[in-house]
Symmetry: C2
Amino acid sequence: MIAPCSPVAASPAEGRVLGSAEVIAALAALAQEHRLAAFRLLVEAGPDGVSAGDLADRLSIPRSSLSFHLNQMMQAGLIVQRRESRSLIYSADFAAMAALVGFLTENCCRGAGC
Amino acid sequence: MIAPCSPVAASPAEGRVLGSAEVIAALAALAQEHRLAAFRLLVEAGPDGVSAGDLADRLSIPRSSLSFHLNQMMQAGLIVQRRESRSLIYSADFAAMAALVGFLTENCCRGAGC
DNA sequence: CTGTCATTTCCATAATATTGGAAATATGGA
DNA sequence: TCCATATTTCCAATATTATGGAAATGACAG
């Protein structure tokens, strides 16, 4: 018996199991300087999220570039968008992120601590 | 107090803490069909590893292409190479993978189960 | 309506990644 | 030494991603 981390049994309350195409999309979505930075800001911001404009300012990149990156992350299912009056507010999809980490620990981590 | 998974304190026996450039390299290394497949085979194989030729056969891709991908993963620090007579044997670096998962849970997972 | 703010879409350009055949390199055996 | 095996490096073609300005869209106030 191994039982490395989790106090619960094996595959617990994982909302969703990903196929490798989805995993690749999610990994690619995070494997970029501006996107990783944006995602971390969104994680920090929590469910309130951050508007596109704020993000662009905080990251110091042009709005059209940011828009491109946000789109990538949405298509990968890592973030979510909602409109609030004139602004579009983005927030991290924590369940999706948890599913990604779940995939990695289960498929790519055999034996190592997590 | 939150204490989501680990029975130990905060940042436990993590061999190494990654900067975001390293994380991006590792994510990009896994964000590709053939590389993710290769890495999963290496994880399954454990410390014994698999030779380049075997991997190419199992993945059904040309040797020069595989060589390119193995190089990417080595540069990203996710796999390791050793020579055994005529063959080059590759194996997964589990500590590196654990560090990647550690980064993701700590920086991109706030609040979600892991 | 008209103007303004917030953001996206369009699009051309530039940069980076992927592919695979052919030639080069390393290793061990006859 | 010479040959066969295992794998890499080279390189050119192709494909995919990233950039950012300008024009288009959506929302709201006067």
